[in-house]
Structure formats: structure tokens, C-alpha cells
Subunit: 202 residues, 2 copies
DNA sequence: CCTGCAGTGTAACGTTCGTTATGCCGAAAC
DNA sequence: GTTTCGGCATAACGAACGTTACACTGCAGG
């Protein structure tokens, strides 16, 4: 009934849920173990330290998020829809995975001291990877959509994406994904094949 | 050299900076006291408990934010500009106050367990007040601007506002305020006195 | 049968944290 | 000159936390 990987997964699931529903620092290791139905010793056999556990949770999360976004892009059938796929991905991802308050990476960044220059923190490295993934992908998708100003479109969509995540945490607006999709369509329609004169301004 | 109120303010300033640059739970009371240049005993004489300190920091922050927003609205000279004033307020507020990573209220919500129904947490009450302030004000301003769908405009602007805050935390896009202003203008121009047919969809 | 593995329970250690008690100092007020 | 007030230093307590050690159980495979 308990293969090592299954135990591992249970611990990761419990940690993900607790860390990002109530906060990382405020969640004790024993609470994670109890919620996963394992002994504290078992948790430490698997992960060694709380920070490693957090790192593996975030790493798994980054993989899952990438796959969901990949799938959403693959389902879309036009460059414009592929730009909007990020919001589809948020929806399917939240439906499939352990529902957390909002974004695990931003939540971690929020309650963790930024490492002083020179120091390299593997957890912050994952946060950086997440930001890099979203930034570069949106830039690429905006280019593929032949926008007149791809960089501007990418920036605005990243702003909307961050807005969706922040809105999930705040609880308002209540339907951030719908609002983001509407706004994104507005942006794309205005800056995609729009007349070049109104695309020039700052 | 040290009036009681001055000492109080120094403690609040230090707490605000530390809490929201590196996280609340991760910041010890002694660290706040040291940073403020006061003794731990003095801090407890003034606030009694860490949670009260946090509450007063947030309360002061809500007041200051309200005032900055008021001023930005007063400076604007058209209904559309008054809708956009929230982004001006973010800018002047961040320039004037202790610069924090992002939004104190969302940061607090992120690392704090949501109180179970029935329980009433004064800190969460302040978070709720912040959300209520932003929501209601944007709705009112959208009405004043005679938008065809004021509720939709208010929701989108709240999404953008949350996007600005989240982007500040993420560090990308690098100029969230500029992106938000551009996007907001797009929204307002499209849904303000726009032709009623395209305002009906979804 | 015995070896090895995955997991459990208990207990403990060292640290940090929030909080409080005690006693002292310096300056302003009467 | 003494009282009062705001603040400081030290020390301590109890609780919680991250972490580890030790001894035990149950099960699979040779």
C-alpha cells in the first residue's frame, strides 16, 4: 500500500496545500507530516530539511504548470488564441492540482527575504525560473501573433497574468479569469493588426 | 529628542519596512526593535504584542493609502483621469512611504491562515477594508465616468491594480504602472462612450 | 531464516521566538 | 530635590520549531 514514491507524493501534496493555503513559515513540519499521514521521521528521511521540501514542491509545481500551459497552447488554433491560452492554463491547472490561494512562487517570494547580492538561494532560483518562463513565453507568443508591438503586448499580458493571481488572493474581482480574457482580447484586437498610428504612442 | 509619538513612529516605520520586505513571520520582534533603535521592552510598552503592532502598521498604511488616492483623484480634471488616478496614487504613495516589496495587505493575507468562518481576526478585517475601499471606489468612479458597463470597467481596473501590485513583487514587467495606464486607457476608450453593440458581449 | 527496506513512535536537543519581570538611568516638571 | 515619565539593559520563562537519535514493527526476497 505504500511505495516510497507514493509516500513522497503524499508528503509533497500535503506540504503544497498547507504551505500555500496558510503560509510557509507559519506551517510546521509536524503539521505537514500529520496531514500527509506519515511520521515526521519519514518526512525527514525523504527530504532532509524543510527548505528542501519547499524546493521540491516548487519544482514539481513549475513542471506541472509548464505542462498545463503547453497543453492549453496546443489546444488553441490561432496565434491570438495561443496568446490567450495562459488563462485557459490557469483554469485547468487550478482545477487539476491542489487548489492553493494563489501563486506559489509569488507567495514564496513575498514571505522570504530577498537574498543579498552574491548569495544564491535555490528556492529563489525557482522563482526566477517561473518568472523567466512566463516572460519569455509571452514574448514569443506575441511575436508569433505578429503584433505591431510584441514587447508591449507581452508586458500587458504579463500584467494581466499577475493581476489574475493577485485577484485570486484578494478575492476580488470575483471572476478574474473572465476579466483578464476580456481585457486581453481588447489588447490584442487593438495592438495586433491595428492601424499603426495608435500603436506608436509610448 | 524622544517624544513618545516619535518613538512610536520609529517602531512602526521599522516594522513596516521589515515585515513587508522580508515577511512578517520571518521577522522577529527583536529585529524590529533593533532596527528602530529602541529596546524590546519599549516596543512592548507601546504595542503589547506583535499582532497589535502588525495591526497598527496596516491601519496606518490604509489611512495613508486612502489619502494618497484622494489627492490623486483631486488632482485629476476629468472623469476618465479620475479613474486612472489610482495608478498615480500608487506612484506617489510608493515614492513617499517606506518602499515595500508590494502590497502590505495582500502580503499579509498570503502568509496568514484565513480565519475559519465565525472567527473574527482584526488583521483580516483590515485586509477586508482595503479590498472594500478599492472595490467600491473603482465602482463609483466608473459610474461617474458614465461607462456603458461600469461594473465591467471597475472589475477590469481592479484586475489591473492587482496586476500592478503582483508585478512589483515579481519584478516583471519592469514598468507595471506604465503598462497598466496604457491598458486602462484602452479599456476606458473602448467601454466608455463606445458603440453599444460591442459593449454587450459576455 | 535472515537480511534489508520503508515506515512508526517516543523522546530528546538546541535554538529561536514572543512575552514579561526587575531594576536602573536621565531628563523634565513641580 | 524629589517625583514622574519615557526609555534601556539584562535575564528569564514557556512554548514552538527544526532536527536527530534510538529502538521497534512489518513485509518482501534470497
Amino acid at each position: 500500500m505504500a511505495s516510497p514514491e507514493h509516500t513522497r507524493k503524499r508528503i509533497l501534496d500535503a506540504a503544497e496545500a498547507l504551505f500555500f493555503q496558510q503560509g510557509i513559515a507559519v506551517t510546521g513540519v509536524d503539521q505537514v507530516a500529520t496531514s500527509a499521514g506519515v511520521a515526521i521521521v519519514t518526512l525527514y528521511k525523504h527530504f532532509g530539511a524543510k527548505d528542501n521540501l519547499l524546493r521540491e514542491v516548487l519544482s514539481r509545481r513549475l513542471d506541472a504548470w509548464t505542462r498545463h500551459w503547453d497543453a492549453a497552447i496546443a489546444r488553441a488554433d490561432s496565434p491570438e488564441e495561443r496568446l490567450l491560452a495562459i488563462f485557459e492554463a490557469v483554469e485547468t491547472f487550478r482545477a487539476a492540482a491542489n487548489p492553493t490561494q494563489w501563486c506559489c512562487f509569488l507567495a514564496t517570494a513575498s514571505e522570504r527575504p530577498t537574498p543579498e547580492d552574491g548569495r544564491t538561494d535555490p528556492v529563489f532560483e525557482l522563482i526566477r525560473q517561473d518568472t523567466q518562463l512566463v516572460t519569455e513565453r509571452l514574448a514569443q507568443l506575441a511575436e508569433d501573433a505578429r503584433c505591431t508591438d510584441p514587447a508591449a503586448v507581452a508586458s500587458m499580458l504579463l500584467l494581466l497574468y499577475n493581476g489574475v493571481l493577485g485577484s485570486l488572493l484578494r478575492g476580488a474581482p470575483s471572476d478574474p479569469l473572465a476579466q483578464a480574457r476580456k481585457t486581453a482580447r481588447l489588447i490584442i484586437d487593438s495592438l495586433a493588426q491595428a492601424s499603426p498610428d495608435q500603436a506608436k504612442e509610448s
